[in-house]
Amino acid sequence: MNRKKLFASSSDKIVFYSILPLVVGVLSLFILIGFSIFSQAWVSFERFGTNLLVLSVWKPSEDPEAELYGLATPLIGSLYSSLLAIAVAVPVSISLTYLVGEVLPSSIGDLLRVLIEIMGGLPTVVYGLWGSLVLAPFLRDSVMTPLHRYLGFIQIFSCYPLTGYSVLTAGVVLATASTPYVTSLLIEGYQMIPAKYREGAYSLGATKYEVFKVLLGLLKPYVVAASLLGFSRALGETTIVTLTIGNSMRLPLCLFEPTMTIPSLIASQFESARLYTYAMPTLFAGGFLILLVSLGVSYLGIKKLYKWREEIRA
């Protein structure tokens, strides 16, 4: 196969070079975003150093010398709530993939997929409002209070649920919002598995569930990739968490306590941070850290995804 020349004609050249500036522009924007966030964050990194990651405190002050900030709680809260979300979303997604892939007739399966698509595109603020005004009181009364009463000796159930705003509530609503995304990825991957393997499994007399187990084994790296991508998205989620996590600078040692994530910290403190010297930079520092982790994890996920797609075609 001979290599195609990039430009078959001069008119192609014109097309290429007239679109080039757009790409350069977008690239510059990307770099600018990274630079702008980092340069503001640097002020805080320089001032507080590694204490930013270790301490958990939010003490603004008129006097710059007296200001003290530590992002330990929001960082842990972010990771914790996103992990919870994925831990719930992935099994649900796998179940849905099983139903759509093996159990339901295709007409109902398609309907279910549309339902999932609707769920996935629904603005997150809707989930947030519902989580705050409906789910939080419900979880508090039906789940948290009984668990605290009867199993309160276990660390994670040991605090009294006052409002229902907690890492648990945030995790559940995040899971609800993440499930459609992860599910659509998994269903897409499941349908990419060549039909011959499915046929081969059924031909050996395997039951629906056994066939699914075999094919799921094939899908495993893809499931990991989808989990990584879902985790990355949950990390950056703002509206849902701010409305359901309680926004308190306390480490979530107990599931029912209010705590904080980086985005919820930023959302709740941004307005007032303008009045102080190091508050804003610290918020940018938090943002920068979340940006790094989010981009890093999603990059990993995408790489894994593409690798699996290539291998499954072989």
Partner: protein, 251 residues
């Protein structure tokens, strides 16, 4: 026990509106090799997949007529139980890529719990791989994955996997399509031996292969059986001109 393991009467199969099988009538005797011959597109694969109800997986399929396997109407049969006893080997090799060679062959026995301990399992795997002439080539590589094998080896692996399921009826769709001539002959010999234990229904489009292995043959053309009967008779005195052309390789 009936002498016939498969009795098909007026079988019509439509897929997405197109009639693939137009009224098939045949009977297959126990412990024989029944070969279905015919040019591509004549419905041979569909017929096999009807016998094990794999066609159920297709969305828009209509099946009419009567198919009795092992004395029972297949539509009264639980489909999974049916497929456990009537095992199909597809034309395209499909060993599960994420399972080792050993695990691939062992899978049916593990699922069916037909072996009691790992020693029995090892023996079963060895037996199956020997039957398909693969044992010597992979006996030191059992923990490797199928992608390390050639196309012909993969096909034999799938055959071994099916044998390890110890089916009553073995359905083979062009089983030696990717296999070199000398191994092909050896596998054909294995199949002739195996018919003592099970019944084999095999699809092929190679006339010489049919001549070598078949006890009975049927020629499928355009969805209908054009001619059928004991292999010797059909080959010596083909009645239908299509059979004639097919045997001479013209179709």
């Amino acid at each position: 026990m009936s002498a016939y393991v498969v009795e098909v009467s007026n079988l019509r199969v439509k897929i997405r509106g197109a009639e693939i099988l137009r009224g098939i009538n045949l009977r297959i005797r126990r412990n024989t090799v029944f070969v279905i011959m015919g040019p591509s597109g004549s419905g041979k694969s569909t017929f096999l997949r009807t016998l094990n109800r794999l066609v159920d997986l297709i969305d828009d399929v209509e099946v009419e007529g009567s198919v009795r396997v092992l004395g029972q109407d297949i539509f009264r049969f639980d489909p999974y139980e049916l497929r456990r006893r009537v095992v199909l080997v597809s034309q395209e090799p499909n060993p599960f890529p994420h399972m080792t060679i050993y695990d691939n062959v062992a899978l049916p026995a593990k699922l069916n719990k037909t072996v009691k301990n790992s020693q029995e399992l090892n023996e079963l795997v060895k037996w199956a791989l020997e039957k398909v002439m693969l044992w010597d080539e992979v006996k030191n590589r059992l923990r490797e994955y199928p992608h390390a094998l050639s196309g012909g080896q993969r096909q034999r692996l799938c055959l071994a996997r099916a044998l390890a399921a110890k089916p009553d009826i073995l359905l083979l769709d062009e089983p030696t399509a990717n296999i070199d001539p000398s191994n092909t002959l050896k596998i054909e010999e294995s199949l002739r031996e195996l018919k003592e234990e099970l019944t084999i229904v095999m699809v092929t489009h190679i006339p010489h292969q049919a001549i070598r292995v078949a006890d009975y043959v049927a020629l499928l053309y355009g969805g209908s059986i054009v001619e059928e009967g004991p292999a010797r008779e059909v080959f010596m005195n083909p009645e239908h001109e299509i059979t004639n052309s097919f045997l001479r390789g013209a179709v």
